[in-house]
Subunit: 247 residues, 2 copies
């Protein structure tokens, strides 16, 4: 499984993903699930992936192949010259659907799932910052003020803290804490989600990444948040009134 | 869906269940999922149910029918005269398997799921208190010191707090708080779990229920825990150190 978070805030886009993949419980690997592209002063894009790894790797390979083609032929469309984030989402969605159509029948004949889903985040010059959730069929929905975040994979453990904390007005440092706490809760309760993590931040209007880094298991900041959250949660729980529950 | 919790503590058994059932999202009903039996000074038993409602209702009906039969013929075995909690678990598991066998084929032909699972908790005179998780196939596992709780249904939202708080040594008042917080997190994040709740406590050695009551949506104690937890969680989150996440 997987756990990925994408937050769309007034201040920018925050993205966090794990790296664990598994085929059954006895075949566990580590793969990056966050892919980023940056063209200074023009656009910053990120794609987070979940689902069948051969499908999602195929999507990223094709997106990158189209960028290579575009460099030799500027008429070719790719995610780096698409005219809007909506068009980028269409390109990514179409690529995902094409790979599904190519492989679904043979995958399902083997009893394997072909499903995959993606989070696309980014901003291009002249447009506002956008966050999309792209489904296996290639269709997609966009985050709004009512629903300012998306999750992929093992989303349930870490959803309550996001539900409580994240609004479009949440400042980025607070959102980073919430994303880390959400990931920490998931890591603790589900073996199919694992360190290291990838973290990225695209501030609104920057057209560039302010943060793009790997969080290793010994990362002091994440360890600190994890330990402090454990203490704070324990104290919060201890502070609750006694339950009498008579009768 | 459903959310049920069973905790096995040194001090006794704590059980909490919701009442929402649904066939799709547009056919939502309220059904009790906790069933209790008490024979003073001999035994106190509780069964919590999840899964196909026709199957779980059938199980409870058959268990009660066997009790009626036993009252007219003391030779007939039922959950109120079974010689051990293990034997009670076998009877409940066999009943569940029989109903599965009877209905699975026609249910699956209709595209409906036949699966159901149960939590059985109780103590009989001369034995220790026990907690079992009974699967669709009628097999079951028992809670131990390493795994002192079971959950049914939508278990992920409310698992982190149980993972952090519940040990066999947790006192019952603390366990009640944890169960309520776990349920509150689930109610907030998943529409398929809903009020009112049913709560029961069987203290070790009591052979009787100390608590057996319904928690309605306007229950002051649950509302208070829910509100205080919301505040305490918010404060806990606010108390975390700043995240810099440079790079």
């Amino acid at each position: 499984m997987t756990y990925c978070i994408g937050l769309k805030l007034e201040g920018g886009l925050v993205l966090l993903s794990d790296t664990r993949t598994n085929a059954g419980v006895d075949n566990v690997s580590r793969y990056r699930k966050m892919f980023t592209w940056e063209v200074p002063d023009d656009r910053a894009l990120a794609v987070l992936t979940a689902g069948n790894l051969s499908i999602t790797q195929g999507v990223i390979t094709r997106l990158n192949r189209a960028i290579v083609d575009f460099k030799s032929d500027p008429e070719r469309e790719c995610i780096l010259n698409a005219e809007s984030m909506f068009r980028v989402a269409q390109i990514v969605g179409d690529t995902l659907r094409d790979l599904q159509e190519r492989h679904r029948q043979s995958l399902e004949a083997q009893g394997a799932g072909a499903d995959a889903s993606l989070i696309l985040a980014g901003q291009r010059a002249g447009g506002s910052h956008r966050l999309y959730l792209i489904y296996s069929a290639g269709n997609f929905v966009e985050a709004t003020d009512d629903t300012p975040f998306f999750q992929l994979g093992e989303h349930k453990y870490g959803k309550p803290i996001l539900d409580r904390v994240i609004t479009p007005q949440t400042p980025i440092p607070i959102a980073l804490k919430a994303a880390m706490v959400s990931m920490d809760s998931t890591l603790r309760s589900n073996l199919s989600v694992g360190m290291p993590l990838d973290l990225a931040v695209i501030p609104t209007g920057a057209l560039a990444f302010a943060v793009r880094r790997r969080i290793e298991p010994d990362d002091a900041e994440f360890q600190n948040i994890s330990a402090e959250w454990s203490n704070a949660l324990r104290n919060a729980f201890d502070s609750l009134p006694e339950v009498v529950a008579s009768g």
